[in-house]
């Protein structure tokens, strides 16, 4: 009990140092519990939604299939049920300069066992005769809609007015993006919508036919069991893509996010716990060294070794417990905020926040274990001493010349304080290494944080600035003759230049790997789209063969020279293509090929699916309006708008980099502060003696601060390659189907990080100065060592 009081008073005496340690520890546990809870929340929400609303096991897209042939699919062994629907992106007729689209789906009122059923969160039922529509929940909110409001849809150039009957969510569209280039939802301009089957058929003019088929499997059946049979069955209907649930776009995004959360929940806490344990280790080591005499007394009084050890471990235990509980509670609160943030991206009927302290408990166990381990390591050595040895002062450190002293010009340029500082650094190697490591970590994290903007720039805006050089992209409803496309577009006032390309939906295969993607057929002399290599040079596409985006190549484990089997609805049989190049690209994953080569392979000549346009800016809106009414035109993308959309979205997440920078400053400060406090308490007598000799507070401070500046300099030098490695590590960890993260370091990241590091070195020195001022010279010198 008495020792407990001693421990508490000892800790209060150095509260800032222990507090810093607690903060770093609780940050780790905060991340752990917050991420873990969010993971549980998202997993629960997904499982419930998928289960209750009968998510499909496989999704097929065909050109057209008669409705009455759907039942054939149910004949395939392993298929439980199959449902066909019509799906089409339609434009919403709105004022303003943005393109707004809805993905219109058939909702079969009569069907009692719908696949990918719809959750109606507000509103009333659709009926077969009225022009009623259900709108995606987020679109509804973002556009300030009300039930019974009207909405105008433009289908095949004709405007139809619908009445909004409800707001809905679907398990198929938990994460709603328009295509693989959009990697964040933009609910104001794109979402889902449902109309009844007769209304849909009438609207798009396709009676008793479907273009999407959803399938569920019997229990025990896996995708690979039935895949080939489904494919052969759907081939006749122009199979465009067949995907299992795992690779379905919305689910894949969700899965990636959960994977990211899991890896964050597993790695981040250990990073912080590692640092705080390291701090704790050094602190307790120092504490036991300075309390050497007290340990001797305790032993002389008859305290057992284990009792003394337990006493010093109690410091670690207190840190572990406070850090663990604080982190757990903060994390649990933070999980509410995170869950709310996730609601902005993922559409679930209800994400319940599993307000559990389970992870606080786990976190507590982890932090206590880490602390006790650090405490044990930090204290074990001193406790081995016999009481008589412990009570006699420690032998002074062996003093010898350091290597630096041999560098004559350097050594002679130092003042006496400088020389003392350098010798002290070399002698206290452990502490110097600890400080360098701490600063190194803080510096590197800061570089990563400050690189966020550049990273986003490279990831997204490079795509717009250097790759997609067009002003407008027009996607046609299907294959149309290139000449027809050209004349249609050149006829528009303000269009200065047009290039057509072909985007072929394909399934590529190599061994067991299989991916659905598109191959872009580009002409040799294309000007409005650049395919760039790693050095940002334009790739010559004149060679015959297939270029694959890097992430696709990595995922399929293919390299230059590999032959791939390619299936496309454009060709009855499969074709083969040789990979002749890998293209580093951060957004989307696809293939590129020379237009002539692609035409030769598919047999289609002079066709286009897409056109790139150069237009005069002031005519842009007029052109868009005109194209919206054109019969063959599917979608129109105005580059400037897309760019603005991204910029707005990403700007709102810029705070992430500030949070990271803040964390690194706290960690850096904790480390520098602790190491200076330790250094100060170890050298009280030495510094007090210097004060007695007549040195001013500032002169004494110079010695301590000179040491820290040297260490800071070393840490920053080492921090440069460390930060580069960190970025590379992050970029390889975050490579997905949808995007890859570049490893570019920001232009000013290093400069800002140098300032950041200097800031917390300076802050900790303010405290050191305060302590030197307070040094009671007479008392310190009177005390026996």
């Amino acid at each position: 009990m008495i020792l407990l009081r001693k421990m508490l008073r000892d800790m209060l005496e150095n509260k800032l140092a222990y507090l810093a340690c607690i903060i770093v520890m609780s940050m780790g546990l905060m991340t752990y519990s917050a991420m873990s809870i969010v993971m549980v929340n998202l997993n629960n929400a997904r499982d419930t939604f998928y289960e209750d609303y009968n998510i499909a096991d496989a999704f097929a897209n065909v050109q057209s299939m008669p409705l009455n042939r759907i039942d054939d699919l149910e004949g395939i062994p392993g298929i439980k049920s199959a449902r066909g629907i019509l799906k089409q992106d339609v434009r919403v007729d709105v004022d303003g300069d943005e393109n707004v689209y809805l993905r219109l789906n058939t909702y079969n009122i009569e069907d009692t066992s719908r696949i990918n059923d719809v959750y109606l969160s507000e509103g009333y039922n659709l009926d077969e005769n009225s022009l009623l529509i259900w709108i995606g929940d987020k679109f509804f909110d973002e556009n300030g809609l009300q039930i019974d409001d009207t909405i105008d849809l433009v289908v095949n150039g004709k405007v139809t007015t619908f009445t909004i009957a409800g707001r809905v969510l679907s398990p198929e569209y938990v994460y709603v993006t328009r295509n693989s280039y959009d990697f964040m939802p933009s609910p104001k301009t794109f979402d889902i919508a449902y109309v009844s089957k007769p209304v849909m058929e009438k609207l798009v003019g396709r009676s008793n036919e479907v273009n999407y088929i959803n399938l569920t499997f019997e229990d025990g059946t896996v995708y690979d069991d039935v895949k080939e049979q489904i494919k052969s069955n759907l081939k006749a209907y122009g199979l465009i893509s067949l995907t299992d649930l795992e690779h379905q776009s919305s689910n894949a995004f969700l899965k990636e996010e959960l994977k990211g959360l899991e890896s964050m929940a597993k790695s981040m806490p250990f990073l912080f716990l590692g640092i705080s344990s390291f701090i704790l280790y050094i602190m307790l080591k120092r504490l036991t060294e300075t309390q050497r005499g007290q340990i001797g007394i305790l032993k002389a009084l008859g305290y057992h070794n284990y009792e003394v050890q337990a006493h010093y471990l109690s410091y670690a235990l207190v840190i572990g417990i406070i850090g663990g509980i604080a982190g757990g509670i903060l994390g649990t609160q933070l999980s509410v905020f995170y869950t709310e943030t996730y609601k902005e991206f993922f559409s679930f009927p209800d994400i319940e926040n599993a307000f559990t302290y389970k992870f606080t408990f786990y976190g507590l166990m982890i932090s206590v274990a880490f602390s006790l381990f650090a405490g044990y390591q930090g204290t074990k050595k001193i406790l081995r001493l016999t009481p008589s040895m412990a009570m006699s002062p420690k032998a002074p450190k062996v003093a010898k010349r350091s290597v630096l002293e041999n560098i004559k010009p350097f050594w002679s340029s130092l003042t006496m304080q400088g020389k003392m500082a350098v010798r002290n650094l070399v002698r206290s190697k452990g502490r110097s290494i600890f400080t360098v490591l701490g600063l190194l970590f803080a510096f590197s994290i800061m570089v990563v944080a400050w690189s966020y903007d550049t990273l986003i720039d490279t990831m997204i805006f490079d795509q717009f600035d250097k790759v997609q050089l067009y002003d407008m992209k027009v996607t046609f409803k299907g294959l149309i003759p290139a000449k027809e496309a050209q004349s249609l577009l050149y006829d528009l006032d303000g269009v200065s230049y047009v290039e057509t390309i072909v985007e072929v939906p394909v399934q590529i295969k190599k061994g067991t790997y299989e991916k659905n993607t598109i191959i872009m057929g580009l002409s040799d002399d294309i000007e409005l789209y650049r395919v760039l290599d790693a050095d940002q040079r334009t790739v010559d596409l004149s060679e015959n063969g297939l270029y694959l985006s890097e992430n696709l190549a990595v995922q399929m484990d293919v390299g230059v020279g590999d032959i791939l089997r390619v299936e496309t609805p454009f060709v009855d049989d499969y074709i083969t293509m040789e990979v002749i190049g890998i293209i580093p690209q951060y957004i989307g994953s696809n293939g590129y090929a020379n237009m002539q080569y692609l035409e030769a392979k598919t047999g289609y000549e002079n066709v286009a699916t897409t056109a790139y346009l150069k237009v005069s800016p002031e005519k842009s809106d007029a052109i868009r309006h005109e194209l919206e009414d054109a019969e063959n035109v599917g979608t129109i993308e105005v580059e400037a708008q897309t760019l603005k959309k991204y910029r707005d979205l990403l700007d709102s997440y810029g705070y992430m980099s500030y949070i990271m920078a803040m964390i690194s400053i706290v960690v850096g400060f904790a480390i520098v502060y602790n190491s200076s406090v330790i250094s100060l308490s170890e050298r009280q007598r030495e510094l007090a003696s210097l004060r007695v000799l007549g040195m001013s507070v500032d002169e004494v401070l110079q010695i301590v601060s000179f040491e820290q500046w040297i260490l800071g300099f070393v840490a920053m030098i080492l921090g440069i390659p460390t930060a580069i490695l960190m970025m590379q590590g992050m970029s390889s960890a975050y490579q997905t189907d949808i995007y890859a993260m570049p490893s570019s370091i920001g232009d000013f990241a290093f400069v800002l990080s140098v300032f950041g590091t200097a800031l917390f070195i300076w802050l900790s020195q303010l405290n050191v100065k305060r302590k030197i001022k307070r040094l009671d010279i007479v008392e310190v010198l009177k005390e026996r060592e």
């Binding site: 008495i2 009081r5 008073r9 007394i297 008859g302 008589s388």
Partner: protein, 234 residues
């Protein structure tokens, strides 16, 4: 009188680089229950080493030492701790109080350990410091700190009180009051007190004086009529 401590040819050697230092060399003695012993010698004579051996704080290199019938020279670390815990009370030259514990807590630190402790407050009252019970060491004078240290040692109710230069850091008057306290403990509780000092004046108050030099006991002097502390000066 019953023997509490017996040493037979006790030696302690330290290795200092290539040189072996014989801090204690073939020392033999007996100390009896209730005796007041003064170990007298100049610095470097081996006094402190002897204190470490007697106090169970260090192990002998050669020879034997017994506490009653218990061989301390072959005791385990655990047994030595038991010995320090129950049989020995230490008083050090520089008091060695725990700075972050107040007066009463410093005393309670040792009462918590002992199997048969005295009441901490009673002992503090005996050393005249009950009114300073909640003061921290930094708020006490040297003499007061040493009295707390004595109270801490006594409160365990040990068989032997082992004092290493207890007046070494104190002025004459304060030192005198400390010696009086030790004498009082010796008489009141009939406990053995061993004082280790370089101060020849203090020798006169002991029942016996061990003169120690160069790691050996030169001679043992028996004081037929030991003086009271106030009768000596140094």
């Amino acid at each position: 009188m019953q023997t509490v401590l017996t040493a037979n040819k006790l030696s302690k050697h330290y290795q200092m680089g290539e040189i072996t230092v014989k801090a204690l060399n073939d020392v033999s003695f007996e100390i009896y229950e209730g005796e007041f012993v003064v170990v007298l010698g100049p610095s470097g004579s081996g006094k402190s080493t002897m204190l470490n051996m007697i106090g169970g704080m260090d192990k002998a290199s050669e020879g034997e030492i017994y506490y009653r019938n218990e061989p301390l020279h072959e005791a385990t670390e655990r047994r030595l701790t038991w010995y320090r815990r129950n049989a020995i009370g230490f008083v050090f030259q520089f008091y060695n109080l725990i700075p972050n514990l107040n007066t009463l807590e410093n005393v309670m630190l040792s009462t918590e350990l002992s199997d048969h402790p005295l009441d901490a407050k009673t002992v503090l009252d005996e050393v005249d410091l009950l009114d300073r019970a909640d003061h921290f060491p930094s708020q006490l004078s040297g003499g007061q700190q040493q009295r707390v240290a004595i109270a801490r040692a006594i409160a365990k109710n040990p068989d032997i009180l082992l004092c290493d230069e207890p007046t070494g850091a104190l002025d004459f008057t304060t030192g005198l009051s400390v010696l009086k306290l030790l004498k009082k403990f010796n008489k009141t509780y009939r406990k053995t007190v061993i004082i280790i000092t370089h101060n020849a004046g203090i020798g006169k108050i002991g029942d016996r004086v061990f003169y120690i030099k160069d790691g050996r006991i030169e001679r043992i002097q028996v004081n037929e009529k030991p003086l009271e502390p106030e009768e000596v000066s140094w």
